[in-house]
């Protein structure tokens, strides 16, 4: 019997040491993409990168800490709106101003939502996070703050300039690509460090058995709130990039469909794994591209939601450990032998 996978719920055992350098290899390979891909394909990769950051941020909440949030898009969208609202009247805005402001805006709302939602448990938490995200959606959709249901256009994209020369100009696709890729790498490294740290281990303990953590002396509310805010701010990073990429923000960025999609992404990839989050984002977006491709599905392409929905139902039903789980399952099965099982049954 596969004890670790079963005992750990949906979570993965550690990555086998052979593949430890894989993320680095993929990162280096990705650097070559601007030279190889068409503009459309490159933009698709950028979209994947942005959603990968978004998915990683949710992975911290759901995978590491065990908090199922159904309202994570709120922080994604708020950061995007902050970015759009901070675009100056003339000339490009400063990345050094807009990015921190966007993440801070997302973080503040995360602090508010987290402080209240974490007073609940289980299904209540799921419902409350959804409700607070809907509240944010309303603020941007129905009031004058964000230009209503049409959203706001960005008249320029942010840049990083020194002495009047734009060193990083997000208007340029190549600059944007590397900036986004760099952001993804930074987010990935940060989360990897967190997972290995005392803080991260405490979060894992809280996910596994919060009562035991409290009995040992951890103020679990504080830990969960910290994770919630960090996750919110990282989602804000993705939101900033989204605004800078498309040049338009609208309330749909905060919709529960967005929150649901990112949740599906991390399950698709494999819960409890940073690689899974990135893989899941890529797989989800590519699936969506596939199902909505008229070249393949002709008239039915407009009903891609149906195909995607059915696929995800089957996936969650039959492959709950995600794509990462597939490869690790094979490796784990090979390592198992009756002698290694030990005497007990769980």
């Amino acid at each position: 019997m596969n004890i670790p996978l079963a005992a750990a719920g949906l979570h993965q055992p550690l990555p086998p040491s052979k593949t430890r350098l894989l993320p680095l290899v993929i990162l280096l390979a990705a650097c070559l993409l601007p030279m190889l891909l068409s503009e459309y394909a490159l933009d698709l990769v950028v979209k994947i990168i942005i959603y990968a950051i978004f998915a990683l941020s949710l992975e911290l909440l759901v995978g590491t800490t065990g908090l199922i949030s159904l309202g994570h898009a709120a922080f994604f969208g708020i950061a995007a709106y902050v970015t759009a609202l901070l675009v100056p009247g003339s000339g490009p805005g400063a990345i050094l101003l807009m990015l921190p402001a966007a993440m801070l805006g997302a973080g503040c709302y995360a602090l508010f939502v987290g402080a209240l939602s974490l007073r609940t448990q289980g299904v209540y938490f799921i419902m409350v996070t959804l409700a607070f995200a809907q509240m944010a959606f309303f603020i941007f959709h129905d009031t004058g703050i964000g230009g209503g249901s049409d959203g706001i256009y960005l008249s320029s994209r942010p840049a990083f300039s020194l002495a009047g020369i734009a060193l990083v100009d997000l208007e340029l696709p190549r600059h944007f690509f590397f900036f986004a890729l760099g952001s993804l790498a930074a987010a990935y490294l940060l989360l990897a460090a967190i997972q290995r740290s005392r803080f991260g281990r405490a979060l894992a303990g809280i996910r596994t058995n919060e009562q035991r953590m409290r009995a040992a002396g951890y103020r679990t509310y504080g830990y969960k709130l910290a994770a919630f805010v960090i996750a919110g701010m990282l989602a804000g990073l993705a939101g900033f990039l989204m605004a800078a990429r498309t040049g338009v923000v609208n309330p749909e960025l905060l919709s529960w469909h967005e929150s649901g999609a990112v949740l599906l992404m991390i399950i698709l990839g494999g819960l409890g794994s940073l690689r899974g989050a990135v893989l899941g984002a890529a797989a989800f977006i590519l699936l969506k591209e596939f199902y909505s491709s008229e070249a393949i599905f002709a008239g039915f392409a407009q009903h891609w939601q149906l195909s995607l929905g059915l696929t995800m139902i089957l996936f969650v039903a039959f492959l709950p450990h995600g794509l990462i789980g597939l490869s690790r399952q094979r490796i784990w099965n090979r390592k198992q032998s009756p002698a290694a099982q030990g005497g007990a049954h769980v």
């Binding site: 199922i68 939602s117 609940t120 409350v128 409700a131 129905d142 599906l264 149906l306 995607l308 139902i313």
Partner: protein, 290 residues
């Protein structure tokens, strides 16, 4: 505010609250008895509304008969859906339930798009339900709204009777507190779950049918009602039907008067109410635990 306006708003609040109660009671029943969080519950509301639209031409002006047919169809649909899909969710954890029912929403939305298109539709009222009735000397109030509230009250009473005064209700209440024990008593748990689920679907669909002539029938109506229902269930406590009633009426009041008093920001009032309850009493008004 003038008294007549106040009275009208109160009636509106009660009507909205009762409608919410119908949907929320289905949600909380399904969660309380089977332990399944169902994000697709709003889709049943949408189903009811679209049924009202689709059945109208078939039944001419026979409104009550049309509603009865709609309820029957929803029950059948609920039975089938439980048998084919939901019965597999009982053993799974919350996250998987969330994911699978969310994906189900995508499927339902798209089916609706294929079968009924994306346009907004209206549902016409029969003669005897149109128009307004005078409330004393003060003002007129739409007949249909009174009819809607009355129907909801009848259903609520029926629900109360079934849950508290019948054997079925006893099994339901027992199942809510101790699933394994009910199974051990030899009660056909599969059938019980199927009945409860179908009832939940029917309640939501009925609410949709009632609401359709007033709110029109449009895509996305399922999502909106679902989230408000979540707020109701959070405030009222999961698994508690009486809690759902109190919470639904409270939400109805806050939302209705919020619209009157706060104009642009009215949509927020319900969420602010939820935030206040969370600060004051996080476990909900009448939590039975889960």
């Amino acid at each position: 505010m003038e008294f007549s306006t106040f009275l009208v708003q109160c009636l509106n609040a009660v009507q909205y609250g009762l409608l919410l109660f119908l949907v929320a009671s289905g949600l909380t029943l399904i969660f309380g008895i089977m332990g399944v969080i169902n994000l697709a519950h709003g889709s049943f509301y949408m189903l009811g509304a679209y049924l009202a639209y689709a059945l109208a031409p078939l039944f001419g002006g026979q409104f009550l008969l049309q509603m009865a047919a709609g309820v029957v169809l929803s029950v059948v649909f609920g039975f089938l859906l439980e048998w084919v899909f939901f019965s597999y969710l009982y053993q799974r954890d919350h996250l998987q339930q969330v994911l699978m029912t969310y994906s189900l929403i995508l499927v339902f939305e798209e089916m609706r798009s294929i079968l009924a298109g994306n346009d907004v539709h209206g549902v016409k009222l029969p003669e005897w339900l149109s128009g307004a009735v005078a409330l004393g000397d003060l003002m007129k109030y739409p007949v249909y709204n009174l009819f809607a509230s009355a129907t909801c009250i009848v259903v609520a009473l029926g629900l109360y009777y079934v849950v508290n005064r019948t054997r079925l209700g006893m099994m339901i209440r027992a199942g809510a507190s101790n699933r394994d024990m009910v199974r051990g008593l030899g009660i056909n748990i599969r059938l019980l779950y199927r009945i409860v689920f179908a009832a939940g679907v029917a309640l939501a669909a009925l609410a949709g049918m009632i609401a359709a002539p007033v709110t029109s029938v449009y895509p996305g109506m399922g999502g909106q009602i679902l989230i408000i229902c979540f707020v109701v269930v959070v405030i009222g406590g999961i698994g508690s039907i009486s809690g759902a009633l109190i919470a639904a009426l409270l939400v109805g009041l806050v939302d209705t008067f919020g619209k009157v008093l706060f104009a642009q920001f009215s949509g927020l009032s319900v969420y602010l109410l939820m935030a206040l309850i969370l600060i004051w009493r996080p476990q909900g008004l009448k939590s039975k635990g889960y």
